[in-house]
């Protein structure tokens, strides 16, 4: 800091108490809810044991919001929702209203202000959002742009509940994967070992730490042009990118070698089946801003196959477990390759050791 002022000692207040900010009806019935249903896409209806009822209208946002947008949401909340709103784990805004009659006008108002209403129940909710080129120091692609481009295409599926069950899409803008597992996940997949900028290594990187980070021991300390640097065994390297954050001269990103991959069948809930990881289905997709059409295409293909074929309550992964991977690849027209066969630790558990076969 340039100007030296006497710094204020922070009030280490920790997690903010939500009760002063919570909608009064929610506060009143805290822990005393009885059941819920859905009025229409985007509108939840919760009934408390006290008999109180609340309708929640859920609206999509761009997450990375300018203050004007946030104030617009506040105006709407002041007008319809007693000056309160909340955000969901997926950056949707939720407005709680105490009378059913308010829902339609509220929806209209939100739509007019450019906020789509939906994301509830068996719809496609907002895509989980990370940083990308806007802010991160290691991104292979953008995040805000990918999400915007895709949500434009999935608008109908956000505002309607026509899927067999909820669909939760995630993105990650580098292979570190700050985005979570997803019914469908769109992640960066590096395709080339890092190119080392040997001039910088000595200054910027703690070499033993970098060596230790590599999961396959592909990095060795080496002297290059008389300077201490690092060396990669390219045959061993699995292009994971783990060496890049602690050592930016290990350039793993390249405008053409940084590709996108699509994964499916990740699931967090414990409903019916246990939680699962998502599985790789397509890779090598071009990193093609501003609209990543090749990615959108595949996401939609998978989504519509699921929409058409899955049964009520089946999540994407559960649907595929029922119909089988052969049929998944058949109806999506995707290729099954040697790269689909896991070879990381514990890979044996992913092999089919049974005659449970799908024809």
């Amino acid at each position: 800091m340039k100007e030296v002022e006497k710094p204020r000692r922070a009030d280490e207040s920790g997690v903010m108490d939500p009760f002063p900010h919570m909608h009064p009806l929610l506060k009143k019935n805290y822990g005393q809810w009885d059941w819920h249903d859905r009025l229409r896409p985007g509108v939840l209806h919760h009934v408390a044991k006290s008999g109180d009822e609340v309708w929640t209208v859920r609206a999509g946002t761009q997450r990375q919001m300018d203050v004007h947008t946030i104030r617009k949401l506040c105006d709407i909340a002041d007008e319809f929702a007693d000056g309160h709103l909340r955000f969901t784990t997926r950056s949707n805004a939720e407005f709680m209203v105490t009378s059913r009659d308010k829902t339609e006008p509220l929806i209209e108002r939100l739509n007019k202000a450019g906020f789509p209403v939906g994301g509830t129940g068996n719809s496609v909710s907002m895509i989980s959002h990370t940083q990308g080129w806007l802010h991160c120091d290691i991104p292979g692609t953008d995040a805000s742009g990918v999400v915007k481009a895709l949500m434009d295409e999935l608008h109908h599926e956000f505002t309607h509940e026509e899927m067999p069950n909820r669909v939760r899409i995630t993105t990650s803008c580098c292979q570190i994967n700050c985005g979570g597992q997803g019914d469908i996940a769109i992640n960066v997949q590096y395709t080339k070992p890092p190119k080392i900028n040997h001039d910088l290594v000595a200054n910027v990187c703690e070499r033993p730490a970098v060596v230790a980070r590599c999961p396959v021991a592909a990095i060795r300390p080496a002297m290059v042009n008389g300077k201490p640097s690092l060396e990669i065994d390219e045959k061993k390297c699995i292009c994971c990118g783990a060496c890049y954050p602690p050592c930016p001269p290990m350039q793993i990103n390249g405008p053409d070698s940084t590709k996108l991959a699509i994964w499916v069948g990740g699931k967090h809930s414990n409903a019916r089946s246990k939680p699962t990881f998502h599985k790789l289905v397509a890779a090598g997709l071009p990193n093609n801003p501003p609209r990543w059409p090749e990615v959108a295409e595949i996401v939609k293909t998978i989504l519509y196959a699921y929409k058409e074929d899955a049964r009520a309550w089946e999540r994407v992964g559960e649907w595929i477990d029922r119909i089988g991977w052969p049929r998944f690849f058949e109806i999506t027209g995707l290729a099954f390759t040697r790269h689909h066969i896991d070879d990381w630790r514990g890979a044996r558990n992913s092999l089919n050791a049974s005659t449970h076969i799908h024809f």
């Binding site: 920790g14 300018d66 730490a209 414990n270």
Partner: protein, 416 residues
Amino acid sequence: MAKKPHETPLLNELEHGPWPSFVAGLKKLASDNDKPYANMMKDLLGQLEHSYETRMGYWKGGTVSVFGYGGGVIPRFSEVAEDYPDSSEFHTLRVQPPAGLHYSTELLRNMCDIWEKHGSGLIALHGQSGDIMFQGCSSDNVQKAFDDLNAIGMDMGGAGPALRTAMSCVGHARCEQSCYDEVRAHRTIINGLLDEMHRPALPYKFKFKFSGCPNDCVNSIHRADFAVIGIWRDNIQVDQEKVKEHVARVGRKQMIDTVIANCPTRALSLNDDDTLDIDNSSCVRCMHCINVMTKALSPGKERGATILIGGKRSLKIGDQMGTVIIPFMPLETDEDFNRLYELAETVIEFFAESALEHERIGETIDRIGLANFLEGIGVDVDPNMVRHPRTSSYVRTDDWDEEAKKWFERKNAAIE
């Protein structure tokens, strides 16, 4: 005269379309020529457009913090500052929101005012870990922004090798499935361990997440080092009349196909009179039947939480989910919450002492084995911690009887 905006033909393509546009938002900020952030946002848009053109990122890290705290700020310095000088510093402040992400418009408006003054005008609601991210701040303004935010009751979140900002689902506030008071658990743990957040000294990051029931609306099993998930121990509450109504509405075949056949442990059977036969001792509390019949079924009355430890994403050893460490912990009384806090503290202490540098707790467990981890934190083994007992005969069992004795002693103690 106002600084001229960069041309952004690629980004402009994201300005339209039915979904709210962040580009429109950024451009609006860039055109707020009366605001301190306008030029910063012009150059930010320029650099972003440059990334879209070249498909490369141009930020690098550094060190920036606020007085008294070691973490919470993500510093960003531009690598192309010569071309985009006004956004050469574009740091993020991670700030903890109210638990459950409830806001009064007053709070939000205050946040906006502060960020308009000291920052870029760009706020992310919320980060994947649950922080409010005030994105885009010069090094000079970080302290000022924080001071103002702190003055309205907000505190910094986590970054670096530290306790991280936690998340809890809406739960008790609006959800009938919620099995414990998420806000209380969330605030008890994080506020008790706050020092670990503000002065990073752990081997690596450590995240808590709180879900009120096994639907796990905050993804805690995959994404939290320490997941607290609501559950119940007694029987599912059933209103058989409402079950019949459900069957009448959807039809028998549909009921069987979507509910009965979907129960993961065949705990459900439909009686010939359309009532439900629940074998609660086979039920694994998956929530499915309750989710389908929200009116007819509810979680039992004896409620608490399951604790899983070790979830994380892919770095170094591949993705890992948390493992059950405590199958059931009642969470109703003050003592219950104390016990939860003590467990959290013990785990953090163990982590601080035993993890290697840059190792997540899940990796530690993987390295030393679950049984040793349990011993380290003083928790007894329980069959609910495993899908099934060992299938490998490669184990040395000469102290079998001693180990068995511990189990029987515990069983007897539980009876007395």
